[in-house]
């Protein structure tokens, strides 16, 4: 995508690309509209040729197969259809069917030629589009609709991304898309349709919230209470008659406070953040009781989301999901009209050179800088952060913390954070709230250095775990990668990778964001096909759980999700039932629980349970993300059990504590394996050197 944008800027312009995007679209609309009135073979032939010339001048054709199919079907329908079905002289209700005649043939040829001309011109326009930003430039005619257009295009961008992961997930779960068995095809189609539709609709809420958090430019009504939170007797549920997640919460947060919300998985941290940010009840969930007032506004009223979000920003688990701009520049301009402010913060966070880049193609560190620049440019007075460090490498985490300090120093901002990595915020936080079973259990004012003591006291520190015991490591190679190289759009992602993996081995794969770790694992799992080199592995024996494993979900019920791989492998029903029950018990999920309504930590456990049956190699990408100490211990003993049964475990992680428990360590840097060692200290040292 990066390259595509660069190409669009640097390549010579041809065909319709020579015109301004709006003029080009207008030309296509007017021309094809006029084609309708053509009534002679000669003239329709001329416009068909002219359209083809315009297409050829563009020197690019997208969706070639669809283009050819549409042309073919259109030609057959028009010529054969008209020839067969047209009336002899004039149209009457008695003569509509089965009259082969010359007039029909004549009409059919005209119809085929002029309709093909329309199709060719439409595809010529489509081929002149290199990115969604080009489409935006073509259709942003009325300023009033700019916001809607951007949000819509962003939704397409995200849906496309989801669709790619859906395909990966299907492949890994044993879907045979080329199956000739019609029964199997129908069953698979049913799962695919459900998964696509769920993604299609579930993004509406996120898209709405994100869109309404941007484009809030007015600053004139800032009053003294902006940035404050007042909650009284709050009770919250995700279903009107479902489980109560937060119960009788009373909380007051003053302007300028930096509050950390801690608690175990399922304690209600995310729900509380969603209430403060207005996500509940504006997008999902219900406030059953109590009052919430944020910056003098109550989300539990008819007030619009854009009013609530005027001075509030809610940054979700993956920071890049909080961006709305198609490019970095567009993101910054969606926060303020003050150009000086944009330039100042862009320079101070060193992102000026990223302005024209597609916001979805930024590396981890770049994403963080852009999100923070966007926050600095905005009117933000209340910042709600949910697990912002989860997806970042150590360098990215440090960058995030130092930029957060910059925000605190430069603005009087109230900050509310919930994160697995509480110790990173030492020295920033001045209040610590501990939630337990949906209630506030502790509310402590903190000083520098005190946070570690509090975490110890509340048993929220990383658990003490034994290194994985895999003494039985055999020298049986279960997977080999030889001279693997992959590039996407001329961008080298993996370069000359050579690596063997052994049975019963636990391997940690580490490296900075964008170093190629996930691509390496997807290649090993044969989801991606390398440009060069070969992967020797039994692809049916590899299971993988993605970093963002919510994108992996295919079914809408927990038990159906777990059993899906077994069904695809035609495993007998008794085994299906016993395996599902065992995994439901392990993951503490209920049978027939909706996969749409479970927390991030439970989704991770569900996907681990759903992707390991009958697999010899199990790849876990950031498995400890969003898990508390209790769940990490659970995961640790589970991995140990898998190793005991002879499996090979590959762990892709930024979590140094988890990585240190493995027996082999691979360090990736700039698409290459730079270290493969059995000594963890070597890896840390090498990494430090590389980062310097």
């Amino acid at each position: 995508m990066i390259c595509k944008i660069q190409q669009s800027q640097t390549q010579k312009r041809f065909g319709l690309k020579l015109l301004h995007p709006k003029v080009s679209l207008l030309f296509v609309i007017i021309s094809t509209s006029l084609f309708v009135f053509i009534n002679s073979i000669e003239f329709s032939f001329v416009v068909c040729i002219a359209s083809s010339v315009i297409l050829l001048l563009g020197r690019r054709l997208v969706f070639k197969k669809i283009f050819l199919y549409v042309l073919l079907i259109n030609t057959i329908y028009m010529i054969v259809g008209n020839w067969l079905f047209s009336p002899n002289t004039s149209i009457s209700d008695n003569d509509l069917f089965f009259r082969i005649n010359d007039i029909g043939l004549h009409n059919g040829i005209i119809g085929a030629l002029k309709r093909n001309a329309m199709i060719i011109l439409s595809f010529a326009w489509l081929s002149s589009i290199y990115s969604l930003y080009d489409i935006y430039n073509s259709i942003n005619v009325f300023k009033k609709f700019n916001k809607t257009i951007i949000i819509f295009l962003k939704w397409i961008q995200n849906f496309k991304h989801d669709f790619v992961f859906l395909y990966y997930s299907m492949y890994l779960r044993g879907f045979d898309l080329k199956s000739k068995n019609p029964r199997k095809k129908i069953k698979q189609l049913d799962v695919i349709l459900k998964a696509v539709l769920n993604r299609f609709f579930n993004n509406i809420g996120k898209m709405t919230y994100n869109g309404e958090s941007h484009f809030n430019f007015d600053e004139h009504d800032i009053n003294n209470n902006v940035g404050t939170v007042g909650i009284k007797n709050l009770s919250v549920s995700y279903d009107i008659d479902g489980k109560v997640i937060l119960e009788n919460i009373n909380l007051t947060i003053s302007e300028g406070e930096v509050v950390f919300i801690a608690g175990k998985n399922g304690s209600g941290k995310s729900t509380l953040l969603k209430v403060i940010s207005g996500y509940i009840p504006k997008i999902e969930g219900y406030i059953l009781n109590g009052d919430v007032v944020v910056s003098n506004k109550s989300p539990n009223s008819n007030i619009q989301l854009k009013e609530i979000n005027k001075y509030l920003r809610y940054i979700v688990e993956n920071p890049v999901d909080s961006l709305i701009g198609l490019t970095v520049k567009q993101e910054l301009y969606s926060q303020t009209k003050d150009e000086k402010r944009i330039i100042f913060y862009s320079e101070s966070l060193d992102i000026v050179h990223l302005w024209e880049r597609d916001s979805n193609t930024l590396s981890g560190g770049e994403q963080v800088r852009v999100v923070l620049a966007s926050l600095l440019c905005s009117n933000v007075k209340l910042l709600v952060l949910e697990s912002p460090l989860g997806q970042l490498d150590p360098v990215g985490r440090k960058a995030f913390i130092s930029a957060l300090i910059k925000i605190i120093e430069s603005k009087k901002v109230t900050i509310i954070i919930s994160d697995q990595y509480a110790d990173f915020y030492n020295g920033i936080i001045n209040r610590f709230i501990f939630l337990q079973n949906g209630k506030i259990n502790e509310d402590i004012s903190t000083k520098d250095g005190q946070i570690v003591e509090i975490l110890d006291k509340l048993k929220l520190t990383y658990p003490l775990l034994k290194p994985f015991n895999n003494l039985l490591v055999s020298r049986n190679i279960v997977a080999s990668m030889h001279n693997i190289s992959i590039s996407f759009n001329n961008n080298q992602v993996l370069s000359n990778i050579n690596c063997d993996f052994y049975q019963n081995q636990c391997v940690a794969i580490m490296g900075d964001n964008g170093s190629g770790k996930s691509t390496l694992m997807l290649t090993l799992a044969t989801v991606l096909i390398p440009d060069f080199g070969e992967v020797l592995v039994n692809s049916k024996k590899i299971g993988m759980v993605f970093q963002d494993c919510s994108k992996q979900i295919l079914e809408d019920k927990t038990n159906e999700e777990i059993v899906l791989s077994l069904k695809n492998d035609y495993i007998d029903e008794q085994t299906q039932i016993s395996f599902t029950n065992e995994m439901l018990e392990w993951s503490q999920l209920r049978e027939k629980q909706s996969t749409l309504d479970i927390s991030a930590s439970k989704i991770r456990l569900l996907e681990i349970a759903s992707n390991l049956y009958n697999k010899d190699i199990i790849i876990l990408d950031e498995p400890t993300n969003y898990l508390d100490s209790q769940y990490i211990e659970k995961l640790h003993s589970f991995i140990q059990d898998l190793l005991n049964s002879g499996k090979t475990i590959l762990v892709v992680t930024h979590d140094e504590q988890l990585a240190s428990l493995c027996s082999r360590f691979i360090l990736m840097h700039k698409s290459e394996i730079v270290l493969d060692t059995e000594n963890f200290k070597d890896l840390l040292l090498k990494r430090k050197l590389l980062n310097h």
Binding site: V70, D93, M118, I151, M207, L305
Partner: protein, 253 residues
């Protein structure tokens, strides 16, 4: 009353983005159908226009304006993708018929007659209903295409299809717990909107050069039948999905 209170707390812009998403869905399905079921004389889908179901839902759920946006833009974009249909005739047949008749009008009529779009249906019962209606639809569709193969059947095929459609109603609703009065009123609305949509389609045919008689009997009748069947499908989808849409804040009727 409880539902009403909850709906008021959802953000209104959800419906706007929901309508945009529906426009995309209508575009994709519409373009597919227009490409594959394009009739010889006419650009666009013949026989069955499944997106009419989505257009009906878009109008009822998102309201008249947003429904018009989803139904109209979706159909227009589908025509453009399928056969480069940007022109006047295409504007009459796609955004005007699809937006005004198939989406805007049902929104107005459902609201005017205070019809609850889930018809008080229970989910389990609706599954049975959907299966039954699908069987009837296939049967009717089969009858609808018979004139292509049997000379002289012409208009009689459509009449038979209508009889099956109306006669099949008690069978479809057998032991299904829904508010039958409201459902039948909605069926009537389906007939009204499909006939108006078909009339607008016929006007498009006249603008393209066909005489009124041929436009009404050729294009109009097929259009009416195809849209009515699809709208029926839309009614069942409404009954089945409206509760969930309310929970998401996509429907306030």
């Amino acid at each position: 009353m409880e539902n009403l209170k909850i709906d008021q707390n959802r953000d209104e812009s959800m419906k706007t983005y929901g309508a945009i998403v529906f426009a995309v869905l209508i575009t994709v399905i519409g373009a597919f159908m227009m490409t594959l079921t394009s009739s010889p004389q006419w650009k666009g889908a013949s026989m069955l226009w499944i997106p009419a179901a989505l257009q009906l839902i878009a109008g009822v759920w998102f309201g008249p304006k947003r429904g018009l946006l989803a139904g109209g833009l979706g159909a227009y974009a589908a025509g453009i993708i399928a056969y480069g249909g940007w022109g006047l005739v295409d504007i009459i047949m796609n955004p005007l018929a699809g937006g005004i008749a198939n989406a805007w009008l049902p929104a107005i009529l459902f609201s005017m007659f205070k019809i609850n779009p889930d018809f008080g249906a229970e989910t389990k019962a609706m599954k049975t209903a959907v299966i039954r209606i699908s069987i009837v639809l296939l049967f009717v569709l089969g009858i609808g295409v018979l004139p292509l193969f049997i000379i002289g059947l012409d208009i009689w095929a459509y009449i038979i299809a209508m009889i099956v459609l109306l006669g099949g109603m008690p069978l479809i609703l057998w032991k299904v717990r829904i508010n039958k009065t409201q459902f039948l009123l909605a069926v009537l609305i389906c007939f009204v909107i499909s006939s108006i949509s078909a009339f607008i389609g016929s006007v498009g045919a006249v603008v393209a050069g066909y005489p009124w008689k041929a436009a009404l009997l050729g294009t109009g009748l097929g259009w009416f039948l195809g849209d009515t069947i699809s709208c029926f499908l839309g009614l069942y989808m409404l009954a089945y999905f409206t509760k969930r849409a309310r929970k998401m804040g996509l429907c306030s009727l």
